[in-house]
């Protein structure tokens, strides 16, 4: 029983990552009709925003320390972060410690701007082109973004810690009457879950309670007619893209402490997030979120030893098996809209 | 018994009774028009005949065989062709190719793996398609990309495609909508000629009374999913209920 609860919690967490990435993807993919292979790269850039903020905060003055030598026998250098010399050691250390949450503030304008530039400069010309062309150009862009990051940050993962207070884990089992250590759950993952919930809620609210979502959907179905009704659909598409990029980026920022960011993390997530979006059903935001959680939880359950004992290797293919079953039994995924990308 | 027997067909969309107990018998070699207000269920009825929709209840017999539950392509192979209300053609293909496809379907059945013959060397098919284009007055457009035809031309092409299959039952959903008067007249002539020369039954839905009255031998008026009256054109013209519900003053005048 404790195992099941434990894996359920894990699933929720995996699910919130999937849901968050799929959400941004489906905004572009399901509403603008663009197959955006660069979405994973946006997620990755979000994570590197966290890395960058950490780097900026740890920028240091470097002085030689004659008492020590470095590996070549030269005098060693000691470095003091500027923030520590400006705000005092304690405040400075706290700032560095909180670099990931601070990165959110930094990432929003960057990601939105990146989204705008991408849409205006590139994607705009591809709305009417075949999906295959969109795939190629965004895939090319993804590679370029990825390689640029690699050129600056290297291929190795870069540790990016959560603030000290969120390190460690919470003994959830004790709370509901299990033995200590039976069900533990890291604090930062709870934060991630809560954050995902807030973002998902905010995006829903925005699209549900404003007419923006309707206009964008309409614009995707028939740009020409929407233009005839006096609506500047291009601008809305751009905004939509900016939002989607920001969602992807924020998902990345918050993900940085969970797994050290590396330049190819976007590609690792890309295919899965496409599967999630499609399983959820094209054009459906709730579908994407639902599918994200469903697949996350199933994946967590499939990794249980008991399950693997019966179906060896099931954890490697569970997502695909489930995707196939769902798409075959429900023609448009869980909650897909008719006609969206069915041709 | 007619070539097409529709019995007690019902179709609901959610709360809307689109078709209620439709009974219809269409005599072989006749031209039968179905008219009625917009939203009466005319297109829905056709959809039930060609396998696009499955009626909730009732039966549809074509030449004594039930069409219900068959796939659209099977129904077509039984000899029923349909022209849609908004033109359905192969936009990516040339006009000639559009015309060749039904010819192949007619000759080779619903599937043929003839991957190693050159389609343009298939004289029989090409000639047939060219002939049909000629008949539809479109021969000069044979190499045009069919998506860039004007709408009237698209519709003519579609009619030609259906005719080239030599169907036994031809269903036309507003074939002359949007067609210029001259072409409408041509189409009327063409349909008349086909009716006279071929072994064919035509069911036509049309709002253009000029077309209806020049072609139809019998008319069924459908209103709110149910046949209101069925009679000869002259009788229909004078029918007070029809005038009120459908024709209005101008047409009747």
């Amino acid at each position: 029983m404790d195992q099941i609860i434990l894996q359920f919690l894990n699933g929720l967490d995996k699910g919130s990552a999937y849901a968050l990435i799929a959400l941004g993807l489906t905004l572009i993919f399901g509403t603008l009709g663009v197959v955006n292979f660069a979405h994973g790269a946006l997620f990755m850039i979000g994570a590197f925003c966290a890395v960058t903020v950490q780097r900026i905060l740890t920028l240091s003055t470097v002085v030689e320390d004659p008492t020590k030598t470095d590996f070549l026998g030269n005098p060693a250098k000691i470095s003091t972060p500027y923030v520590e010399s400006w705000f005092g050691p304690e405040m400075g250390a706290a700032l560095i410690d909180w670099s990931v949450p601070l990165a959110i503030v930094f990432a929003i304008p960057i990601m939105v701007a990146l989204g705008f530039i991408m849409e205006r400069g590139l994607i705009k010309h591809f709305y009417k082109r075949p999906h295959a062309d969109q795939i190629l150009v965004t895939f090319g862009l993804a590679i370029v973004l990825q390689e640029v990051i690699k050129a600056f940050y290297g291929a190795n993962p870069i540790p990016t810690g959560a603030p000290e207070v969120f390190r460690g884990s919470f003994d959830f089992g004790v709370l509901i009457g299990f033995d200590p250590n039976a069900i533990i759950y890291p604090y930062w993952r709870m934060v991630y879950f809560a954050f995902a919930a807030v973002i998902i809620g905010a995006v829903f609210a925005f699209l549900q309670f404003t007419t923006f979502g309707m206009v964008v959907r309409a614009g995707m179905a028939d740009r020409e007619t929407v233009g005839l009704l006096g609506i500047n659909i291009d601008r809305r598409f751009t905004i939509m893209f900016g939002i989607a990029a920001a969602v992807a980026g924020l998902a990345g920022v918050m993900y940085a402490p969970i797994n050290s960011p590396n330049y190819h993390m976007g590609m690792d997530f890309l295919v899965l997030s496409f599967v999630v979006v499609v399983v959820g059903g094209m054009g459906s935001l709730p579908g994407a979120v639902l599918a994200g959680f469903l697949l996350g939880i199933l994946e967590a359950f499939a990794s249980m030893n008991e399950v693997k004992a019966i179906f060896p290797g099931i954890d490697q293919i569970i997502i695909y098996v489930v995707a196939i079953i769902i798409i075959l039994t429900r023609p448009r995924g869980l909650m897909g809209r008719k006609g969206v990308m069915e041709e | 018994m007619g070539i097409l027997e529709v019995k007690n067909v019902n179709k609901r969309f959610g709360g809307l009774q689109a078709l209620g107990d439709v009974n219809l018998s269409i005599a072989e070699h006749s031209v039968h028009a179905i008219i009625g207000p917009n939203g009466a269920g005319k297109s829905t009825l056709l959809n039930c005949l060609v396998g696009k929709l499955m009626p909730d209840t009732g039966s549809v017999l074509f030449d004594g065989q039930s069409v219900l539950g068959r796939k659209p392509y099977q129904i077509n192979q039984m000899g029923i062709s349909r022209v849609f209300q908004t033109p359905e053609i192969f936009g990516d293909l040339s006009v000639l190719e559009n015309m060749m496809i039904p010819c192949f379907a007619k000759r080779d059945g619903s599937f043929g793996l003839n991957a190693m013959t050159n389609m343009l060397k298939d004289r029989e098919i090409v000639e047939r398609a060219e002939h049909m284009l000629e008949e539809m007055n479109m021969a000069d457009k044979r190499h045009m990309h069919s998506a860039s035809l004007s709408r009237g031309d698209k519709r003519r092409l579609e009619i030609g495609m259906c005719l080239s299959q030599e169907p036994r039952l031809l269903l036309l959903d507003e074939p002359t909508a949007g067609m210029a008067r001259a072409d409408t007249n041509n189409t009327i002539d063409l349909l008349k000629q086909i009716r006279d020369q071929r072994d064919i039954t035509i069911v036509i839905i049309e709002h253009d009374m000029h077309v209806v009255f020049s072609l139809a031998e019998r008319i069924t008026v459908l209103a709110q999913g149910t046949p209101l009256v069925e009679d000869t054109p002259d009788k229909i013209k004078g029918h007070p209920k029809v005038r009120e519900a459908y024709l209005g003053e101008t047409q009747a005048a």
Binding site: P159, G168, A182, P257, S260, A300, M304, Q316 | -
Partner: protein, 424 residues
Amino acid sequence: AAHSGFTNAPTGDTVTLGFNVPQSGPYADEGADELRAFELAVEHLNGQGDGGMMSTFSSKVLDGTGIMGKKVDFVTGDTQTKSDAARASAKSMIEKDGAIMISGGSSSGVAVAVQGLCQEAGVIFMAGLTHSNDTTGKDKKANGFRHFFNAYMSAAALAPVLEQLYGTDRRAYHLTADYTWGWTQEESIAAATEALGWDTVEKVRTPLAATDFSSYIAPVLNSGADVLVLNHYGGNMVNSLTNAVQFGLREKQANGKNFEIVVPLYSELMAKGAGRNIAGIVGSQNWDWKLENEKGDRYAGTNAFVKSFGEKYGFPPSQAAQTCYAQTLLYADAVTRAGSFNPCAVVEALEGFEFDGLGNGPTLYRAGDHQCFKDVVVVRGKENPENEFDLVEIVEVTPTEQVTYPVDHPMFSGGALGSCNPGA
């Protein structure tokens, strides 16, 4: 190239070596370090630079005039850490550029695949970073040699240290990357720890493509285990270790003992990627740049190499770099001693070759399987690293005898060296 008895026999005044390293993909940084070492080795062979380990190497036939008077040229390629791509890249070096020796790589799958290719094509393969038992076990090849240590040796070196640190009454939980290297690593470390008296609670395979290990880590604490062994490398290891620390495993108690994590194979880059999560965690390395400073002259060559490398590139070399550098010198030396570029002559010169002064202490290239035998370094993540190059501390150096095994050891059985192939 013209044929004179063997593939790509050098005819002009240069000889071409092929350095096949991961330049893209997750191991690109490791590949870059390997490439730096190769370039340095070529420089030294051609008489530029300070000569590095050439001056400490026990064999003295290399004189800085290239190899047998031929200037050393090299070509590079990208393995992408994929067997197919690595073979394609090696093929192009052999077929197009006339490379006579291929070296490099950062994974066992690639090493085995390229080694097979070199055997068939008739060139020498000097493996780069490959740690699976199979490379010199069931997939060994006459034309291939490995300077790096292997999973068995890691386990054998770690066992006494683990015993000393954590005792003999431990229950271990294994998480293993589900591919060739992971399997041999798991087999080796489980056998070695079980020999100490440890129990193995569970061996769990994790998908190679996994990026988040939470659902594998979470059940560990409640399984009755008190040690977690992470048979992961590269990004897998960085993520699984980070996850384990997130779940608070380091601070927990189990069976009345402190919960411990062991990472059998360490690398400098992994340590960097895992950041402070690595603190206090034990693992093994083929070599470390601090060896000579901390463990004395036995590891002569280390400082010479660190100096040339550090001066050229500004940071200390990784174990991958040291391996690739040593492989290049060893090849050049063997050719010179054999007096021929013929692969069969080179094989003969390398088989059973004993040497010293390349940073690992006295070393033997065993004839029976082309594995080299030398001391293994056991390291531990530093609690308070002073700089980014100083992430691990040396706990122990396990001497050669303890990590040596017979050629027909069951973990290495199933293959045959075959005979050397000069190609053409």
